[in-house]
């Protein structure tokens, strides 16, 4: 399943594990930007998360326990800055699941740059004060997209260790569960500052780490492509043979830490793929070389832009790779990037693509809580609507899923 966030709502693309035929559902939250989505299949849940942002009414984290048939829109936003602070939530940029030792922990990265944490599966959230109160925080500057905390990488081997990235602030890491944070930008350049290698202030666009070897990281910078083999303590340039080291998204292979995917863009002024050719670049040796992946992708007059969360890799074998464009196209490869197919066209501008492989319902049916699972179709929508009209005093209300197709 692909969770697709766009500037005007969320969509779901479904397929079997063969990944040959895809079915589109949506839009959900039509008219609202959805910059972050996630799937939480831990502890018997089958929960989709969607970070909605209305230009008028603010940002609200919503969820669905029935794969989008109905969505829960909280009566009041669950993520807010403490009253009396000088910050108000503008947007949720990222939703990340916590370490497997903490199956009810989630994180959200937001704008203005801050991290929120939930330890009860997303019912309640708290500001991570250690980062919010960091002495650098007042010196972080917004990039073109705002001052967002857009990347969260909980270490799979150590629940107290989390790496985050901010545009523009750079990379920070905690090793004590969020109490203290240290800048981790050694070797990452800031092309736009007098000091090209400052302690912090870099415009990091995306970081990924490998799930079974998390000290192996890749970083796509606002000019600069890097690898770390020590969990971000140091970064080394790996822009070897790419047409540009400017870009936004990154993907990493689920099993091979030497295989990663990028989409170079021509420049920070143009921000389209070079030469009108839609090319994903793949390395299979940790960045020593990169190869252009073009089969099935337009190679002329393709002035596409892929944003920081617009590329995702699934966990199947062979791995599937997917990306969405600002022109509303979604491409997918079921053979690790060797060839591509157009999965959806004419969507609103795509800002988020997340590939997920839900745990089969039969495998965990006994864990699904009653009352959260609804039949598909009109009857369930009516049921959801009816329920919402009778639960005004409850903390949440369900809204019917809207399908445009």
């Amino acid at each position: 399943m692909l969770l697709i966030g766009t500037m005007k709502g969320a969509f779901l693309l479904h397929s079997t594990s063969a990944r040959t035929k895809w079915t589109l559902r949506g839009p959900f939250f039509p008219g609202q930007a959805v910059y972050a989505m996630a799937y939480d299949g831990r502890n018997g849940r089958h929960r989709l998360w969607a970070a909605t942002q209305s230009m008028h009414w603010g940002a609200v984290l919503c969820w669905s326990d029935d794969f989008g048939e109905t969505w829960v829109v909280p009566e009041t936003p669950t993520i807010t800055f403490p009253k009396g602070s000088d910050r108000s939530l503008r947007q949720i940029w990222q939703i990340a699941l916590g370490n497997s030792d903490e199956p009810d922990t989630l994180y959200c990265g937001v704008e203005p740059a801050a991290l929120f944490k939930s330890t009860d599966a997303g019912n309640t959230w708290s500001l991570v004060k250690g980062l919010a109160d960091h002495p650098h925080a007042k010196l972080w500057q917004p990039g073109g997209g705002g001052l967002g905390l857009h990347t969260i990488l909980p270490d799979p081997n150590d629940a107290k260790r989390v790496t985050i990235a901010i545009s523009t602030g750079g990379v920070y890491r905690t090793s004590d569960g969020g109490r203290t944070w240290q800048a981790r930008n050694v070797g990452v350049r800031a092309e736009f500052l007098p000091d090209k290698f400052p302690e912090f202030g870099q415009c990091v666009h995306k970081i990924v780490h490998h799930p079974s070897q998390p000290e192996r990281m890749y970083l796509q910078n606002h000019w600069g492509l890097y690898r770390s083999d020590d969990g971000g303590d140091s970064w080394h340039d790996i822009a070897n043979g790419v047409p540009s080291d400017f870009g936004f998204p990154l993907g990493i292979h689920p099993r091979d830490p030497n295989t990663a995917y990028i989409v170079p863009l021509e420049s920070d002024a143009f921000r389209c793929v070079p030469d009108g050719k839609m090319r994903v670049y793949r390395t299979r040796n940790g960045g020593k070389q990169w190869e252009a992946l073009t089969r099935g992708l337009p190679q002329r007059e393709a002035y596409e832009t892929i944003l920081r969360d617009g590329l995702s890799v699934d966990s199947l074998d062979p791995a599937g790779v997917y990306f969405g464009t600002r022109s509303g196209k979604v491409y997918g490869s079921k053979n690790e990037g060797t060839s591509w197919a157009l999965l959806a066209d004419t969507l609103p501008p795509v800002v988020c693509v997340k590939a997920v492989v839900p745990i089969p319902a039969a495998a965990s049916r006994s864990d699904v809580r009653s009352g959260t699972k609804h039949k598909s179709g009109t009857s369930s929508r009516k049921a959801a609507t009816k329920r919402s009209s009778t639960v005004r005093r409850s903390a949440t209300r369900k809204v019917a899923a809207r399908s445009g197709r």
Binding site: S54, M55, H56, G58, T76, F81, S88, V399
Partner: protein, 93 residues
Amino acid sequence: MPVEVVLPEYLRTFADGARRVQLSANVVTVRDALDALAATYPGVVSRVRTEQGEVREHVNIFVQGESIRDGDGLGTRLHPDEELLIVPAVSGG
């Protein structure tokens, strides 16, 4: 007659579908009115104001046809029988 709040379509979802809400409390300012509304319909007011209490940038509030931004903001005074209109701004893309 009490002050009446008129809601746009989207916010009616969070007010049991009501288009107009009469405020029973004695309210003197727009701030009072929103506080009173929040007591009954927190989902409405959390979408009109930020968590710091400011009216969101792309939300307009009118009292008797005048934008409160041209008046005293949340301190704009209300009188019995007056109408407080909440409208999404002309913005988007």
